[in-house]
Amino acid sequence: MRVDYSMISRVLASTLGAYALAYAFAAACARLLPGDAADAAMIAALLSFALLTAFVPWIFSRRTACRAWGVVALAIPLAAVGFWPQLWSLVP
């Protein structure tokens, strides 16, 4: 049987990748929301499930596995926003 690596890659992108994207989004969202930090973290978490639901079909329906991972890569700038103080502290 022929193994469809492109499909496996797409499935990984739309499960683990989608979660990573939602996670990065929630981190950025919690960082950017004004007001109390605990409230921001909760709002980000509750919102992230709706986004996750949207991310999975969005990523899975990309025409190639590469494009699917391209969408997942949006997690990098979002995570940078969410974790900028931590990243900043790494700079010597």
Partner: protein, 513 residues
């Protein structure tokens, strides 16, 4: 690889995701629907306990008398009171977890009652979200299934654009087409329920599933987040000093209960710290169903000697926490009494039907398509078909077997509640074996019939074995369930002649990869 269109992608996602997670989702939905009536099932599973409507104050008083007599030196007493859903009265002592070693009492006289040890109706509740797995693994597995459900719904809507037309198209007795119609009708009609139940499921453990905010803003310090979010709200019994003080008579429990109901609404249990001493504290806990908001820890603390209210319940101040608790409350269905319970039960069962028919359609279609070739794919579909039987009909058989074993296992058996669970899982495993040994249609038929017999026999079992009380609602529902199962079994045994499906554009979207 050929580049798939958006609809085709969604179809792939819906059918394959639906198949793999459908098995899990069926298990979660069936146990969840049963868990709506966990307390009622629990009552049925303790036939030695009397059905006797007693004033809560009277029950509390006899429980206190019992505890005073048997456990005067304990520093903590807990009393679980009878209420709207149950007549059970139980007490436990010591600092351990609630109901760790609960002793049932007769709510009328306070006599200790020997009841069979049963895994109880809460088995369905914990199985619903833990699946008998270690806690965190269980929570993550069911969370994954909830997201899969949401994705299946969204992709289902995309591939199934004619939502409104299908409100009015049910073509019974047309073989595979009818199964698809049932799938679509239950899916579409129940769509708001499906979306609500899957989304609110995620809200329960929101911060476990998505701790991103805690990781980023709180730098991963979960304690700091919890402190800020809950403001040091304590769970568990009342706080009392280590020095117990002088022996002192207790406050009038009936008066305390009246005051507790004034500030809390219906009360479900009492925790008493330092009972019998001058520093005694009585903590009353609100039952979960007073508001939509799920407030597990809503309590009021009273002075154990004077009966004075010391700590009134604190309303949820944070709007975000309130939102999360309302969402959780929507999932738990504790808020509207029996009408809401029935609504959730019926909707949950409709979801089970949607999932089960979806599973059947998937395999039916693909096995037929691959029948001539006898390839690897054919074997996969055939296995899936047999697995469907064990997951759908087999689980119903196993649930029935759990209730039967509750009445049939000897009452004095050691580790009795574990044995009930062993029967549940053992029978389920046997149905899996049976499903693979028998031809597909016969396997369905036999297991559905067995499930029907178990359901239909439930009232008889209760009447003949050792039932003291009747549970007309539970037993009536069980009989109704049995009749429906019989009907389905008959339909499966005598399939109507297949009418070739008319070719329609929309139906061509269910692609076979």
């Amino acid at each position: 690889m050929k580049k798939p269109s958006f609809t085709q992608s969604m179809s792939l996602l819906h059918t394959w995701g639906g198949l793999v997670l459908g098995w899990l989702l069926f298990v979660i939905f069936l146990s969840g629907s049963l868990a709506v009536f966990d307390q009622e099932i629990d009552n049925w599973m303790h036939p030695e306990l009397p059905v006797a409507e007693v004033e809560q104050a009277h029950a509390a008083q006899v429980a206190l008398d019992y505890l005073k007599q048997r456990h005067p030196e304990q520093t903590a007493w807990r009393i679980s009171l009878p209420g709207e859903r149950t007549d059970q009265l139980s007490v436990s002592v010591g600092e351990g977890r609630r109901n760790a070693e609960a002793q049932f009492l007769d709510p009328r006289s306070g006599e200790p009652l020997a009841s069979r040890k049963s895994t109880g109706g809460y088995f369905f509740f914990s199985f619903h979200f833990l699946l008998n797995l270690p806690v965190l693994l269980g929570i993550w597995t069911t969370g994954f299934a909830a997201v899969a459900m949401l994705v299946a719904l969204v992709s289902g809507i995309v591939i199934h654009k004619k939502i409104f037309k299908d409100f009015f198209t049910f073509r019974p007795a047309k073989g595979q087409r009818s199964w698809l119609d049932v799938h679509n009708v239950t899916g579409v009609l129940m769509l708001p329920f499906h979306l609500m139940i899957a989304y609110t499921a995620l809200s329960i453990f929101a911060m476990i599933y998505m701790p991103a905010g805690v990781h980023s803003v709180f730098n991963g310090d979960n304690k700091a987040f919890t402190q800020q979010m809950y403001g040091g709200q304590r769970f568990g019994g009342p706080q009392v000093p280590k020095e117990r003080g002088e022996p002192a008579p207790g406050a009038d429990i009936a008066e305390v209960l009246v005051r507790a109901r004034e500030v809390l609404g219906p009360v479900t249990d009492l925790s008493i710290g330092n009972p019998g001493y001058s520093t005694a504290r009585i903590q009353a806990r609100a039952s979960m169903g007073n508001t939509v908001e799920l407030t597990k820890g809503r309590t009021a603390v009273f002075d154990g000697v004077t009966g004075e209210l010391l700590e009134p319940p604190t309303p949820t101040a944070r709007r975000t926490l309130f939102t999360q608790r309302v969402m959780t409350g929507l999932h738990f269905a504790q808020f509207g009494g029996y009408p809401v319970r029935w609504l959730y039960f019926i909707c949950g069962m409709a979801s089970c039907v949607m999932i089960a028919t979806g599973l059947v359609i998937f395999t039916l279609k693909r096995r037929r398509a691959s029948e001539q070739t006898k390839t690897f794919a054919y074997r996969v579909y055939r296995s899936a078909e047999h697995l469907n039987v064990a997951i759908v009909a087999g689980l119903i058989v196993a649930c029935g077997a759990l209730l039967w074993s509750n009445h049939l296992l000897p009452a004095q058996l050691a580790e009795r509640s574990d044995w009930e669970q062993r029967v549940f899982f053992g029978i389920w495993l046997l149905t899996l074996l049976h499903a693979f040994l028998r031809p597909w249609r016969k396997a369905w038929c036999e297991q559905l019939c067995l499930a029907a017999v178990l359901c239909l026999g439930l009232p008889l079992l209760n009447a003949f074995v050792d039932g003291q009380a009747h549970h007309p609602w539970l037993e009536g529902t069980s009989v109704g369930f049995g009749l429906i199962l019989l009907r389905i079994a008959r339909r499966v045994a005598n399939p109507p002649a297949e009418v070739p499906a008319r070719k329609r554009k929309s139906e061509a979207t269910e692609v076979t990869p």
